[in-house]
Symmetry: C2
Subunit: 437 residues, 2 copies
Amino acid sequence: MGRGRLWRSGLAASMLAGAMELTGRSMQRALDQILRRLITQGRLTVRWPDGGTATYAAGPGPRAALAFASPATVRRLVLDPALAFGEAYMDGTLTPVECGIYDVLDVLTANLGVRGRAHPALQLRTLLGRLSRRFAQFNPARRARRNAAHHYDLSGRLYSLFLDRDRQYSCAYFRTGSETLEEAQAAKKRHIAAKLLLDRPNMTVLDIGSGWGGLALTLARDYGARVVGITLSAEQLADTRARAEAEGLADRVTFELLDYRMMNSRFDRIVSVGMFEHVGVVHYRAFFDVVQRCLAPDGVALLHTIGRSDGPASTNPWLAKYIFPGGYSPALSEVLPPIERAGLVVTDVEVLRLHYAETLRHWRRRFAANRDTIAALYDERFCRMFEFYLAGSELAFRRQGHVNFQLQLAREQSAVPLIRDYVAEAERLPVPLRQHA
Amino acid sequence: MGRGRLWRSGLAASMLAGAMELTGRSMQRALDQILRRLITQGRLTVRWPDGGTATYAAGPGPRAALAFASPATVRRLVLDPALAFGEAYMDGTLTPVECGIYDVLDVLTANLGVRGRAHPALQLRTLLGRLSRRFAQFNPARRARRNAAHHYDLSGRLYSLFLDRDRQYSCAYFRTGSETLEEAQAAKKRHIAAKLLLDRPNMTVLDIGSGWGGLALTLARDYGARVVGITLSAEQLADTRARAEAEGLADRVTFELLDYRMMNSRFDRIVSVGMFEHVGVVHYRAFFDVVQRCLAPDGVALLHTIGRSDGPASTNPWLAKYIFPGGYSPALSEVLPPIERAGLVVTDVEVLRLHYAETLRHWRRRFAANRDTIAALYDERFCRMFEFYLAGSELAFRRQGHVNFQLQLAREQSAVPLIRDYVAEAERLPVPLRQHA
């Protein structure tokens, strides 16, 4: 046994011994202490495994209650909160009482703040996460495909039960906050199209991560573009090809099962919406090299991605395990260096704040409305997993510094107009802008 | 003598010996070789010290001619082009022939490209520059004040002879490109005011680097704000205080001779226009800590600064020596990390491309129109120094990746509206928006 392994196993043994000491009521006392320090807003009521209850109240703010099924759940939560919380909810050993999981997470995130300051275990996780994130985000082609399949090869029917009609699985654009999800997703596509400056007919567009095809089909139908969409999900590929045929757009839009790294052709425009989250920091340079290589000299690219405003961090371990293996939401400071090194010019950065929280609120409500159908399609545990994912993500955007970046990129400074007013002007034009050629 | 010094002095001696070998005609041959490789666009004609001429022509593009007064000038240019070129022009040992210095730099920058790829000496400089730039940009309070005095304590009369009437000494905002400098500078102030969301009367504003006071006075006069402007230039301070008195705004606008690091008060809004270029990368964290500390929790800040779209680099040594000691134009990748670490949220990034090139074109023309007056105020060498500065800067924005960033910052995501349309809407409102309270 090498010194490294010996040290690690020694450390693990001593941690385990420490953990074993803290069993049963002592673990409950530990969590009680943590919650007592943590809750400085709102109110959380906890029903312990032994039937006793405790209330952590600190004035105005959100309110929720939860119950633990067993001392084991309490112990796991103290030792590994970031992973154990979601797992306990999925397994039914942690249950919201007279409220939903959103309400429970609402109280917790209101008190955790942007960085999860209060819980030392969370801070340790963040530190370890930073050290390991380069490995967690190592996504060569084969793993990238497996990661995509994990989430996007879920039944297309599932996505039709909580997304908008066009199945836009990314941040919508809320002009007022009171519009429907359908309106906000249509506005998002218009906003992106405006920034792409599709000002000539038959412009060629590469859509990296084409999802269920809504954006590619819209750019072809309403803006006269010729689009190539690439995806790593076989389910999405079949679906989008069928949609292009059904809409009579198959001559203008083609979809391929292809890794972005394989692209070599030139396009007038490149767009990537909600795919960059799967790339991983170690591959950003490769990603932007592809954009540089595949973009015409006077071309324009638009990258729409989740990001975080509070600097580099690590992916929540529950989210990485159950929803997005290999995924990561970058800080702007992580996205800029590989763009500059690739020789691309950043021509604009829009930071969409709270739009994704609103989007997720709509998804969460639609999911709830169709819960029985989804439970029949999968099972109760799957539903709870998805609910936890939607609720946690919404709160990450409301409270924990998550935002959505739209980065407009070019090879030449002069590729976009002098001032940004062209975006709002294009958005005011009637749709469709062009008939097919 | 330590090994390091021995090695360095040995290296210096061998370099000197190599340089001495290349004297007279051999230096001319070296420069001839460099220009032969460099010029791939346009045409440059060179008159050598011995009276002979050479023309480097490569098809369409800008055209210019220059003459060298002595072999020493040729040698210095080969050995240290980035510094020697401007110095030779200032000293009159390098003279444009039947054209201006702008035309000569136009041909050279058209061929150098963004990174100055062709000239190995320039590349070596860039490398050394990166190593030394942390020292070059070390600007503690006393040095910061000396650096500011170097440029901004030049006669106020000088600046009135090439700037607009309001003496805005920063990038204007050209909505069309055909407006006057006065119009474009007024539009810049409106654009900044719109992003500052001065939507209540008597909002307090801190203006870091208040220059000749135009912005501070405008925010007070037209937007009902109460402004504190700070500067390190005694000349600017006297001038701005007199302006505030003369305009009857002294009760709403105060100016102080103060380093940004000294600020501790809270403001609703913070604005900094054309000052961040003097801060230096090593002090960015201190700068954004001041913004964080001095900004109200629901506050909004707007940073307007020159930057570069091609990644970190070093300040041109001529510019650092004669115009802006301690100055630096950062890449976005250098500005973002200290913002994130300071706990500020980036709510918007606008990249003003070519606006500063247009601004500098206006300044260059006004300078030329008032050249005799300026030469009487200073001397011929000063005029040539300023011409070189204005021409070189304009071309840095046209050809070498320089841009102007407007970063909008906040402490809370919700401090600014959901979508950016409020900027254009505010710009359409009539001015003045408010009467004084």
